[in-house]
Symmetry: C2
Subunit: 435 residues, 2 copies
């Protein structure tokens, strides 16, 4: 049993150290009170009462909250970060709409984190596991129409290939990698992920694969090159399609990999295997059945199989409203109990294998974030400082969510129930990849 946590204490500032401090992503914990803004008005009794409420919600978390005048609340023992709150509006938002207010204030620079950002978030998430105030209403099931899907995808994936190239691996794989060893490079881990997916699908030369949501084309091209299959890949990001087609052409695979402008609802024709990596998050619970219909219509009635790779949760819960509003419009991370009875069970598709790779995603995000930071100046020139702060928080909070077990990464392999006559094991998934 953990020892009882200290009661959060609110200490009004003596305003003795009002020098401005650098607002970096990381940095040593500044001395108490040094986050005050020179010239800012003093906090009122009401402000300090609100700060006390906020401190109560996060009681025991190893952080300090510091108001604009240096007033400090220490929430737990050995604080690993100080959170500077620059004005009254930010303080109010953190109490009234914390899930969205934190991110908005961070992006604006009205809220600053002094200390290791992702480490602090992870520690707070772990500390708060099971303690977040429960929302009063159940979350609303959503489902993106075709035009909404186009809008959502454009808003995120069409930020420019030049931007993503700065911090993704060489093959531009923007989904969870697979670390066969914790010290693998991101490049190796992404290649290992592509092979892991292909081996799970037990692809055979000459087979035909349909991919829904193909990113910059890495999986489709890898399947065609190394597993001898033909691929038709559907995508609705123009920037990604253009990149993918050029790459397939350059590598002499244009005859075997076709990139089609269309979303999953436009899939036509039959395939031996269906695969979708990182798209289910954008479909919406209310459309999972439609997705299942598409899959069931597409895969071979005898030996057909498929794999869905998606960010999920341990139970149905609302996705981060901040990420949904500012980073990934329409995104939702489902529980298995939301996907299976809608997308697979109505079509008598047998779940063959589920694997949870959440810690692999925490490692992937750590590497993306490190590369992002190395190019922060360039990215600020492409966009602006606000964009950099927003994406920094998005990557760091996602890393913290996977590391703390708040988010999961599921690979669900399924197949027609009639297939097969001798029992197989998964041993082949763990043999060396084909040359």
């Amino acid at each position: 049993m953990p020892a009882p946590e200290p009661t959060p204490s609110v200490v009004p500032s003596a305003r003795e150290t009002e020098s401005a401090t650098p607002r970096g992503r990381t940095g040593r914990l500044p001395p108490g009170g040094s986050l005050g803004r020179p010239g800012a008005s003093s906090s009122t009794r009401l402000d300090r009462w609100v700060l006390g409420r906020l401190a109560g919600i996060f009681a025991g978390a190893p952080i300090q909250l510091v108001l604009w005048d240096g007033t400090t609340a220490t929430l737990g023992r050995s604080p690993m970060a100080a959170i500077g709150i620059a004005d009254r509006r930010t303080l109010r938002d953190l109490v009234l709409r914390p899930e969205i207010g934190f991110g908005e204030a961070y992006a604006d620079g009205r809220l600053t984190v002094h200390g290791d950002l992702e480490g602090t978030l992870e520690t707070v998430f772990r500390h708060m596991a099971g303690r977040w105030p429960r929302p009063i209403l159940p979350h609303r099931a959503t489902g993106a129409s075709r035009s909404a899907a186009r809008h959502n995808v454009h808003a995120h994936y069409d930020l420019g290939n030049d931007f993503y190239r700065l911090w993704l691996d060489d093959a531009m794989v923007y989904t969870c990698a697979y670390y066969e060893r914790p010290d693998a490079s991101l490049e190796d881990a992404q290649t290992a992920k592509l092979d892991h997916v292909c081996r799970k699908l037990r692809l055979r030369p000459g087979e035909h694969v349909i991919e829904a949501g193909s990113g910059w084309g890495a999986l489709a091209i890898h399947m065609a090159r190394h597993y001898g299959v033909t691929v038709r890949a559907y995508n609705i990001s123009e920037a990604q399609l253009e990149y993918s087609r050029a790459r397939a052409w350059r590598e002499g695979l244009a005859g075997r990999v076709e990139f089609v402008a269309g979303d999953y609802r436009e899939i036509r024709g039959r395939c031996d295997a269906f695969v979708s990596v990182g798209m289910v998050e954008h479909v919406g619970v209310r459309r999972y059945r439609e997705l299942g219909e598409v899959i069931a219509r597409a895969i071979h009635p005898g030996h057909g199989r498929g794999l869905l790779h998606f960010i999920g949760r341990n139970y149905p819960a609302r996705f981060s409203p901040w990420i949904e509003r500012y980073v990934f419009p329409g995104a939702y991370a489902p529980a298995l109990s939301e996907v299976l009875p809608r997308a697979l069970e109505p079509f008598d598709l047998a779940v063959e294998d589920v694997e949870n790779l959440r810690l692999h995603y925490a490692f992937t995000l750590a590497e993306w974030l490190a590369r992002f930071e190395r190019h922060a100046r360039e990215i600020a020139e492409m966009f602006d400082e606000r964009f950099v702060r927003m994406w920094r928080l998005y990557l760091a909070s996602a890393q913290a969510s996977f590391a703390s077990g708040d988010l999961q990464l599921f690979q669900v392999l399924f197949r027609r129930p009639l297939d097969g006559d001798a029992p197989s094991t998964r041993r082949a998934f763990y043999q060396d990849p084909p040359a």
Copy 2:
């Protein structure tokens, strides 16, 4: 596309070959009409109309239906078996209540299958996939109270250790084996299953395991002997408990494996890992949440994990009413969408791994059935011929259900979400077992 199926034809008997035929489990397909019973009354026009209805339901299945007077309906091309229907009551039951009528008539000897029993069942199940008449009402969720659970378990597992010893492996493992190679012996495949479960749980020496539903003790004893853990195993079959305790004592493991008379609701204390192999089928959907509470209370809040191994389905559907009434009172095979949101999600337990081993169970059942047949005479002397027919049909239809994809075998591995800091793969599940 399969070619259109022939319309079933009903051919009245010329009564030319009325000799009685041997009623064996298998045998060559008898010549048309030879299943008639000498001296039986002729079938009426109504009988033949009912036979036509029955033939319509199974149209295209490669079987013949033969009435008591030799009247024959050939349902599909190249029939692989003839099903003899000995009287009007049997014919009526096959149309009005086929799911229970078939098994009752088979056990009574009023219905005989001439041809390979399990092969015919599998072919019919494959043929009928997606074509079974849908029940009008959804199936009723059940849940066994403690006394019902005791009654149900006693009715099946307390038939006598001498009976089960005749056809199970040496260690008396009465659950799906794991065939690392299709030609493995049943003994090796059961040992491999025990290791597969232990490796998935990543057991470490000195840890404590709680097992719910421990059969004849094979897994508990294997874990203690080969993985250095202590085990507390709960069971409500007196015959199994007695056998298990004697074995642990004989093997010098009584100090490390405790067999407790009690069902899962009586589990007390903490463990590092929770395991249950072949018990969920007896719990009932309405009690899954209670089972989840027991698990969540028992496993360590930090590194706790567990494994549920159970017979399941691709979607919620009623279990065979005949098996439920005559063989396994109260049994139910759930879909994953029935188990996960009740037993795991409310307790924030993360699904780490799901594996479907249905073809391994088809192989296991084939071996059990072969051994059962070798001891059919002894078993008839222990019980009676009716019992032998009933169990033959139970084992054969279960084998056919797993082989045809009607039943699944799920192993669900789960763990607390906070556990772990480096990503791991499942490669270790496929390394050599400890000495």
